[in-house]
């Protein structure tokens, strides 16, 4: 049981790191603001999600695992909204700054 959970944790967190890496590389390499936003939101939501799943397998209690999931859901809801607002800001013309 423990070995299986450990293996799941290792795989999930390693995959999560890969998604974070993809998000960072996308943020650096993609040509314009909207494609960069696309790379960022897909990658970091999935990256965090996989890390949370991996850690949930290690959590001692169901409550602890649910709390981890709650953090993820919170980030998903807030992240989606902020991404949309950033996209609007990116579309508006640059002000004289």
């Amino acid at each position: 049981m423990s070995a299986l959970a450990d293996a799941f944790t290792v795989v999930a967190i390693a995959l999560g790191v890969v998604f974070f890496l993809a998000g960072s590389v996308g943020l650096l390499r993609f040509p314009d603001a909207l494609t960069r936003l696309h790379a960022l939101t897909k990658a970091d939501n999935l990256g965090l999600g996989l890390v949370v799943l991996g850690l949930a397998a290690q959590a001692g209690s169901v409550l602890g695992a649910l709390k981890l999931l709650a953090v993820w859901v919170l980030v998903l809801v807030a992240g989606a909204t902020v991404a949309r607002l950033i996209a609007r800001a990116a579309h508006e013309p640059e002000r004289g700054a």
Binding site: L74, T81, R95
Partner: protein, 319 residues
């Protein structure tokens, strides 16, 4: 591996700190500062100071970042002329760098030469923890052992509010802070301002409640509540109250006043100012904390909202 993580965190923190100074664009510097605050929260976890990490995440990164970005935007709007780049000449900068390196070097030497064994009040804090009925020693220090510090800190917050409000032009004294809310806001923001605050209020109350026995407490809970109130205001779902409102002022004053009342009661019932009678210590502490949380939430939100700018109450006859 833990050391590699610490080293990477330290190097990244120093690099981001250097960015906040070196970046030419003021907006970018503020964004870098928010990142700096989040990195410091990680450092606090590594130092085992979870209470401080909570405060840093809430105040250091979130609230200060929002405050500075609001100020930067207001300055950008008010500035008529483009900013000339007017840094001091190379000689002055070199001199400043040498001075700062000397300061940093002497503090580093101080860190390396700290006495062994380290002096600590942890044992004393632990010995009297039972008398407070609390499980979290940091909360015990804040609300019981060193309650005078916390009382004075609340007074500082009230003074800061008085200072910010004093910048109001005469015509709008007692009015509402900030510009009038725009008629229409993006739908996504409206949605978030309806979904997030209920969650935030629950988390804020939880952090306050957990603070008795685990990391958490009035400051962290109050900051979360303040952020939620401001979110609702930013989305235009509610307007900021007039600063002339008596209910609002009572809320700001409630923190220090309750503290003072308990303090003077302590002179009569227990044996000293701010002393709690031991059997009732925990209920008294919890009551203070609940009032403090609400008062801190109101004060922090008003500090962020700034001086009144509009909508002063009409003068009533006889006043």
């Amino acid at each position: 591996m833990a050391f590699a993580f610490d080293l990477a965190l330290v190097l990244l923190t120093v690099a981001v700190a250097a960015w906040t100074i070196a970046l030419r664009d003021g907006f970018a510097a503020v964004v870098a500062f928010v990142v700096y605050g989040a990195l410091l929260a990680l450092a606090w976890v590594r130092l085992g100071a979870i209470d401080v990490a909570l405060t840093e995440a809430a105040i250091g990164a979130g609230l200060t970042g929002a405050l500075l970005i609001g100020a930067a935007a207001a300055v950008r709007r008010a500035t008529r002329t483009a900013l000339p780049e007017q840094r001091p000449d190379l000689g002055t900068r070199t001199l400043a760098a040498v001075l700062c390196a000397a300061v940093a070097g002497s503090i580093a030497a101080g860190v390396l030469l700290l006495p062994e064994p380290a002096p600590s009040l942890a044992a004393d804090a632990a010995r009297h923890l039972d008398a407070t009925g609390l499980g979290n020693p940091v909360t015990a220090v804040l609300i019981a052992y060193r309650a005078t510090d916390t009382l004075l800190e609340k007074v500082v917050l009230v003074l800061a509010i008085a200072g910010v409000w004093s910048f109001a032009p005469d015509g709008v004294w007692g009015g509402r802070p900030g510009p009038a809310p725009a008629a229409s806001q993006p739908g996504a923001l409206l949605l978030l301002a309806r979904v997030l605050p209920p969650v935030g209020v629950v988390v804020g109350a939880y952090v306050l409640w957990a603070g008795a026995d685990h990391p958490g407490g009035a400051f962290q809970g109050g900051t979360i509540l303040a952020a939620m109130v401001l979110l609702v205001v930013m989305a235009g779902l509610a307007d900021v109250p007039r600063i002339g409102s008596r209910a609002l002022r009572a809320m700001v004053l409630a923190g220090p006043m309750v503290f003072l009342a308990v303090g003077f009661a302590g002179v009569v019932i227990a044996d000293a100012f701010l002393a709690y009678p031991v059997p009732y210590a925990k209920p008294i502490i919890l009551a203070i904390e609940i009032v403090l949380t609400l008062s801190i939430a109101a004060t922090l939100a008003l500090l962020l909202a700034g001086p009144p700018e509009r909508d002063a109450a009409p003068a009533r006859p006889g006043q």
